[in-house]
């Protein structure tokens, strides 16, 4: 699907299935490439995380320790550490090389921990939970530095902006809020309707825009300081699950998201047109991640699928 633009971006090269990874015994909940591009990490409801090589996609290590399903994971800036959020109400910090040990267990949430992220300097971790709070933890000591009473329903996603000064959070209560990371003060509320629930929110790479997913099958790109929605992406199905979406910037600018119709959708960022639909999973695609430098996408499927699929572009 060529885009007719005055700037003539590279013509779109379709992604094709490269590999299918089958090692999880239950639904895969999250996949993320490391920031240095060397590893791929996946988290699953089978209580484990798996580290894969991102070149050969061989299984490097299975991280065992959580006592209940894992919902989310995040890489530290130097790709040495991973933090994971689990239904056992803890956040764990793992070493992603060397001993692969679980280094710390962060306890404090009173219900399932659903989402987690490092700040850009990776000295803090923010976690969102079903107990409606966001907790900020110090990585070095594991102490909980702050509790933010953020929402009135489970918090579905937390993300820091580029310099770590802001946190965006989305929740099933339909609101998407921006917090000042150093004080925990609420700076802005982007959406405040009871319905539909906000299932995912994240900052753009330069921290100026927020990508928000709501459970009415809509993805919106918003300029949060002006409070305006600039772009809307539709065509996929998202009414039940908290599906993660992401920006693909390695070869043209796209928005990538999973969908409940078992496909991965790619939209052109500016034109908002859907450029490709990747088929192959046999259940909802719950998470997608883009490699930081190569044109690779990894996607994860829920319980009836349990696989991770790697998609590459023909060069």
């Amino acid at each position: 699907m060529a885009n007719t633009n005055t700037q003539a971006p590279p013509p779109y090269k379709p992604y094709r299935l490269h590999k299918t990874l089958r090692s999880h015994e239950r639904a895969v909940s999250c996949v993320k490439f490391s920031n240095d591009g060397a590893l791929l990490a996946s988290a699953s409801l089978d209580k484990t995380l798996i580290l894969w090589s991102s070149s050969s996609f061989s299984l490097i290590r299975r991280l065992v320790g959580h006592t209940d399903g894992v919902s989310d994971l995040a890489w530290s800036l130097d790709s040495h550490y991973i933090c994971s959020a689990s239904d056992d109400r803890t956040v764990r910090i793992w070493a992603a090389r060397g001993s692969f040990d679980c280094l710390k267990v962060l306890k404090g949430h009173s219900d399932f921990v659903f989402c987690v992220n490092f700040n850009p300097q990776s000295n803090l971790i923010a976690s969102g939970s079903f107990d409606e709070t966001i907790r900020i933890w110090e990585v070095k000591t594991g102490k909980c530095v702050r509790v933010i009473k953020a929402h009135s329903m489970p918090v579905t996603s937390v993300h820091f902006n580029r310099d770590g000064s802001l946190i965006v959070s989305g929740s099933r209560d339909g609101s998407c809020k921006i917090w000042e990371a150093s004080t925990g003060a609420c700076l802005k509320t982007l959406i405040d309707d009871k319905d539909p629930a906000v299932s995912f929110a994240k900052f753009s790479p330069n921290g100026k825009f927020i990508l928000v997913a709501t459970l009415d099958s809509t993805l919106k790109l918003s300029n949060y300081s002006a409070g305006k929605f600039l772009k809307i992406y539709t065509g996929h199905t998202n009414k039940v699950y908290c599906i993660t979406s992401t920006f693909s910037v390695t070869n043209g600018k796209y928005i990538v998201s999973g969908s409940e119709d078992n496909c991965v959708y790619l939209w052109d960022l500016q034109q908002k047109t859907m450029v490709q639909k990747l088929e192959g999973h046999t259940d909802t695609v719950i998470s997608v991640t883009c490699h930081p430098s190569e044109n690779k996408i990894a996607s994860a499927g829920l319980d009836r699928d349990r696989t991770i699929k790697i998609w590459v572009q023909d060069s």
């Binding site: 300097q121 409606e132 594991g142």
Partner: protein, 558 residues
């Protein structure tokens, strides 16, 4: 950046003590360029680097050789090195990332102040001000030091010019002198004991200009604002003076040569004064005419808009804040521990002060709730506005749906990758700046990782022995924050909740017991009631949900 959504109407200076840092006895502090790290020199010769975001210790610089109390710390421009001056007359240069000492130079006298050249990527030159003699330029690579001229007549000598001040036995008498680099380090501004500001080119030891201060009182401190536009002097006559810097930021020496040639008809001191009048213009004077306090450690705020000075008279801990025009905007009063050092955060409206007991107090703005943040279309009104409703505002018109989409042109280009330049991106920074130290999670002790199901008595024990999450807390500093007490209780409380599922009432009672136990275990410093702790802060965070059981208000100490 979040600048567009923060309310610009609030005053940009700190108001209350937010937190204090405790680790050994700290004597002097310095922020790195961006304010992400705070270096504190201690009385045992070590330097603690605090991660200002987490308020935890990021690194300790210490070795067996340095055991004398640190008198000053200074970061290099790129943040990779720290220079420390100690009471055993030494200057030590450390590499921050690997924590190694690079060099050590012993001077003839203890330097009270040591400043690295502000604009070189690898530190090679530094300015040292000893207690009772002229300031020195020390070459860190060779170890040689050159004495700077401190009077107009001492130019072009190169060797010690203080013959006038020598007492009969030949030792230089007490002549405290303050000095600082200008913004790019091509000139040094010296404030001598006769109340004169000398502009010195240290490459050839020439005094280019002289600005006399009326009254001729000894100058104790001299410091530039961050942008190099303003100079501050603190004199023995208890007055802080602000000068406009009339010279351009770069190329100072050549401009001064030109100015000197322009007044070639004058000679000697008069020539210096004439040139000096073209370099600095007195802008304002600050003093407390009622109490006539001596000022300690005065400095500018990061943006140069505010001037802060500390007062330690009669053992008090007071911080005065003026706006640059001269109005006193705030007096911050701390606990009854004399203030010995002060620093303003380079970016945020935060002031950090060191007290005689070795504690570092962090002053920040009082947190007030921003109500317009809670809904997307809330707007704060300055005053009451009469609302005039439309004719058909409350009519029922079933056909028209609410149009939620804004009328923004959806076809506009959106740029998600470009990052705006801000005040910190200096194009002539050759080395990549060290913005933060990597945080390495210190591994939990093995017994902390077992699954829940530990016995009740074991949980209670771990509660009493300290933070259950980090037993390594002993070697780390503690950033004591009132908010941490409710959180630690929360941890204990949650575990208890899961184990035995007690009733709400039961939880409250248990929490009450734990709170009392916590209070006994952690004796917080008794702070006077004039100091507001973060009560309002904990109130606003812990407000809505009573079932969580965390009552921030109950825990505040008074």
């Amino acid at each position: 950046m979040n600048a567009p959504i923060i309310d610009p109407l609030q005053g940009d200076f700190p108001e209350v003590i937010e937190e204090y840092l405790e680790h050994g006895i700290m004597k002097c502090i310095a922020f790195n360029r961006r304010g992400t790290l705070l270096a504190a020199g201690c009385s045992d010769g070590s330097c603690i680097i605090w991660d200002f975001e987490t308020r935890g210790i990021a690194k300790e610089l210490r070795d067996k050789e340095s055991v004398a109390a640190i008198t000053s710390v200074c970061w290099s421009n790129c943040g990779h090195h720290i220079l420390m001056s100690a009471a055993d007359k030494s200057l030590c240069l450390w590499h921050v990332l690997n924590g190694q000492k690079i060099g050590r130079i012993v001077l003839q006298q203890t330097p009270l102040l040591a400043r690295l050249h502000p604009h070189s990527s690898t530190p090679s030159l530094c300015l040292a001000c000893p207690l009772s003699s002229a300031p020195l330029i020390v070459d860190l690579n060779t170890g040689t030091s050159t004495i700077l001229p401190v009077a107009v007549s001492d130019m072009a000598n190169g060797h010690t010019p203080t013959s006038r001040n020598k007492s009969s036995d030949g030792t230089p008498s007490f002549s405290p002198t303050a000095a600082c680099f200008n913004k790019y380090g091509d000139l040094i501004y010296v404030g001598n004991s006769k109340g004169e500001i000398l502009i010195v080119d240290y490459k050839n030891m020439h005094v280019h200009a002289m600005v006399p201060i009326s009254g001729g009182a000894v100058i104790k401190n001299i410091v530039f604002s961050r942008d190099g536009q303003y100079l501050l002097t603190n004199s023995n006559d208890r007055t802080i003076r602000i000068y406009d810097n009339l010279l351009p930021l770069k190329g100072g020496p050549s401009i001064l040569e030109d100015l000197k040639n322009n007044v070639s008809e004058l000679d000697g001191v008069e020539k210096m004064k004439a040139v000096g009048a073209k370099c600095l213009a007195l802008f304002r004077e600050f003093q407390d005419s009622i109490t006539k306090v001596h000022w300690k450690a005065p400095c500018f705020s990061g943006d140069g808009e505010w001037v802060v000075g500390g007062s330690a008279s009669k053992g008090e801990h007071k911080i005065y804040i003026w706006d640059r025009v001269g109005h006193l905007v705030k007096i911050l009063e701390g606990p009854k521990e004399a203030l010995i050092d002060l620093a303003w955060h380079p970016v945020h409206p935060i002031v950090v002060s060191v007290s005689l007991t070795g504690l570092v107090y962090i002053w920040a703005k009082d947190y007030t709730e921003n109500w317009s943040a809670f809904a997307p279309d809330f707007k704060e009104l300055e005053e009451n506005e009469e609302y005039v409703e439309r004719e058909d505002e409350f009519d029922l018109i079933p056909e028209t749906d609410k149009v939620k989409e804004s009328d923004v042109n959806q076809d506009d280009e959106v740029d998600i990758l470009t990052i705006e330049e801000n005040a910190f991106s200096e194009s002539d920074m050759s080395q990549e700046e060290l913005g933060f130290l990597p945080a390495i999670p210190s591994p939990d002790a093995p017994d902390q990782q077992e699954k829940y199901g530990g016995s009740f008595s074991k949980l209670m024990d771990s509660n009493h022995s300290g933070s259950p999450l980090s037993e390594e807390g002993a070697q780390n500093g503690q950033a004591t924050n009132h908010e941490l007490s409710p959180l630690e209780d929360d941890t204990g409380g949650t575990r208890l909740k899961r184990k035995r599922k007690p009733s709400e009432k039961g939880l409250e009672l248990q929490k009450g017991l734990e709170l009392q136990a916590e209070k006994v275990k952690k004796p917080l410093k008794p702070l006077k009631s004039s100091v507001k702790m973060s009560k309002t802060k904990s109130k606003s965070v812990v407000n809505r949900d009573p079932s969580n059981g965390v009552h921030g208000d109950e825990i505040s100490d008074d």
